[in-house]
Point group: D2
């Protein structure tokens, strides 16, 4: 049975690492705060003293950090993941980071003789626990193939997208579509209400036809209750729309619908909804 | 077992009437061209000589005509449905017509002592055959209840939406959301392609997450092949977007995303895509 | 010296008719409320008993009514303008009416043996008094030529635009450009303010360069003071944007910027600014 | 009479420096290619050996370079302007540079004991020759006052806008308004044409009313002839729209009309119009 390293045991990482342990792999973990490591030890994982020890002793190490700053700190810090890498051992960064951070980490890993794969995920806590994430991998193909037995325990849909950067880029496109769908969905809900129809009827009709999707089903009910408890923060959606429109600028693709959605989310930010769920854009549309 | 009338045996109506016959109801039909009636007779329906005979002899008559002109002709023409109506017998118009036509037919039926329900459907040939249409009913509640045993054999989701006009209005809102979704979807596909990603990868990712819906799945594949064989004509989608934006004007609801989608479909019309599938809007976005 | 009839002595019509009198023409007037007629009589006009008397006695009659309803009432009502027309006498309707009303009046005048010109104006009270209106004439070319000595006293710029309907259409295009300019102007003012610049500085800069125009100069100062006293009602601007976008629909011209401006004005209407000046769109943009 | 330095004698700088000489000031110039210096020497200017000699010998030096790279090279290069600065002598950079470049140059000048003013201009060759530029100054107020006798010979409208950065920012806002106006103007021209009106008639009407402005007058004629000879490159307008929308993002100002204009210019870039005049956006609108 393969041995894997796992660095970063937050809400997502903890669930993902447990799935590896449960599947019977030998897993060596590290986390900044040790309580989380203890949780993994309790189910059978080995706990390393620092990231370098993980990458020095495991053929393939997965990392799942909160943001670009954490991903860089864990890689480049003292006794960081980079210090232990070498000899063709692999580093699979599943954190959601921007293209620059990913490229920087990847180049450093290669420079030290390691292999690198970026593999951001789509999906949150529940899919992480259920092993049903969508994994957007890009970088070293041989590492992708070697890591597959582990990836398969974490995700239900795993794609190899080519060169480093394509994983982050794919996530941007998907989030852009999400932001645009949310915008037209909110316009539909608002038009229904002003037009004398019940929101709940519209939701039922949408759910019964070719447009039915989990987001409308989940968010439609919450919006109807005025419940904007954060799942995906509105400010992050606006940032992704901004970056997607900028990507369109770089590659020569006009994006009118995305640009207009971006302005709606900007308006919502200006009105103080930054830290609410992104569905709170309904408040500036209705 | 109840007896129903059914007027209009096109692709949709024929499939719907057959579902009534199969369910064991006695069904009396009429169609402009007699071959279609013969088809229904072969499975057990009775064929009437004209629409008036249907409405005069059946407690409840369903009508499924191609467009407002046909719906009016069948109702108001010589030996039309109106001539046979009276005595509390019901007329359920399932044709997709505008609010004015629906209101005009409904008022005439009431005037003659009949009951009226508008019940446009969402879904096309396959759901009609499978009895899985979405039925958007509005008008006389008692007729709705009385017609339910028949409606249930034609649709899987049947809603009563209130006063006459609400059925047509709901359909407009749904189609507006569909047009907006198609627009941002096409922008996503175009951005993926220009950005060096595979369209097929984007489709897989979308289909694995919270945005997964039958329309993306079906149309994504066809767009990737450049196949715009008409299912829902682009000019009809643009008309519905125009009417939805106009409805927003009437009820005081600004609709920026819908307005922008409308202009994209107008551009596609200007470039000659009127009679292609509405997914051909991809051609003016990419 | 030529003799002219003039029907409709509101703020605009009264000023225009006085310019004809001042220029030395014999002028016969009629107005619904007689006080206004008395004002014109005081400066030398003859007062008729009804519109029919005006059109029966003058070779060319100008009409300047408040809206389509008034224009129709004066033409088709008892002892209306139509009753007196005939024998090649001309009727020049300078009211701002929609294309249908204009076509209906024009056809009736022709039918009775008269000549017809639509001639809506651009400009308000001050240009009417100064004789510096812009006159958008369309219809009978020979009537246009014959009326020119009078038109020249009312406008500084007089264009013949072809068939009846083109005058109204031109006005729509101009107002669409006005609405779009106001929208981007308000965005500029709002961005300047949020960005730490003085609105007054922006106005000075704009007024010194290639974008300098009377509207920015006038409205910029008023917007800075929060003064939205009505000159051109916001609801009329929104109506014109709606009609312009609809015209684009009819003739196959996508209009994204106009559509987006239309939604901004709709938002302003929804927030209660219908009867304020159209520059009040600033309130929903800033 | 005051003595001024002038660095950068391109099309703009040469005309501006000549205006200083003509006004009777003693002027010391430097330019990369010496022929241009000879031209100035011919009218009475003194020619320095390098930028450092200019800033070391003149109390106030104006600089007018082609772009940020040139502005940095002249300041920071060997024997650059920075080397000669000190003792409270002033450096007025009139080049159009981004905020970062301006801040970097300004900080270095201050560090060496000099005073700094950014003063980008609005207007091109003709206003430079006529001394009728619009000058957007920001930075050291005392330097602004001291430089005024010179600035007055170069510009007809000179504003002091506060801290360094505000000059560049103001120029961005103005260009955003310009881009938005051009977009709605092109939509108007396109709608007129499709609607059976003459473009030349629309231009006459616009020029006679409250929207009349030099840009419509100049560009309207050129667009009608299909003449897109570059005055302001389309790619620069798109860049400014992008930066203006990004500024709105930073300061919390949604900008729907500007965002939509940006996408139109992006579309024009994608179709190969980058190096044509920005009015070539007409080609993707019509």
């Amino acid at each position: 049975m393969q041995e894997f390293g796992f660095i970063g045991l937050g809400v997502m990482g903890s669930a993902m690492a447990k799935n590896l342990v449960k599947a019977g792999f030998k897993v060596t973990v590290w986390n900044r705060s040790p309580e989380k490591s203890a949780e993994l030890a309790a189910v059978g994982a080995r706990v390393a003293a620092n990231p370098a020890e993980v990458t020095a002793t495991c053929g393939i190490t997965f990392a799942m950090l909160a943001d670009p700053a954490a991903a860089e700190a864990v890689c480049f810090g003292p006794d960081g993941a980079l210090a232990g890498i070498g000899d063709g051992r692999g580093y699979v960064d599943m954190s959601t980071v921007d293209g620059e951070t990913s490229a920087k980490i990847g180049a450093a890993i290669l420079q030290k003789g390691g292999k690198f794969l970026e593999a951001p995920v789509s999906g949150s806590k529940k899919p992480a626990e259920d092993g049903t994430l969508v994994i957007l991998a890009a970088g070293d193909r041989s590492l992708y193939d070697a890591a597959m037995p582990g990836l398969e325990k974490m995700g239900k849909k795993i794609l190899f997208l080519g060169a480093v950067g394509n994983g982050a880029r794919m996530k941007l496109v998907v989030n852009m579509v999400m932001g645009g769908m949310m915008t037209i969905f909110c316009e539909g809900l608002a038009l229904a209400e002003k037009g004398g129809l019940e929101k709940s009827d519209l939701l039922e009709v949408l759910d019964a036809g070719a447009l039915a999707n989990p987001m409308f089903k989940l968010k439609g009910g919450l919006i109807s209750q005025g419940n904007y408890t954060v799942a995906f923060p509105l400010k992050h959606m606006q940032k992704d729309l901004r970056l997607a429109v900028a990507l369109g600028d770089t590659v020569g693709q006009p994006l009118v619908a995305a640009a207009v959605a971006n302005e709606a989310f900007k308006k919502a930010k200006a009105l103080g909804c930054s830290d609410e769920d992104f569905s709170a854009v309904y408040k500036v549309i209705s």
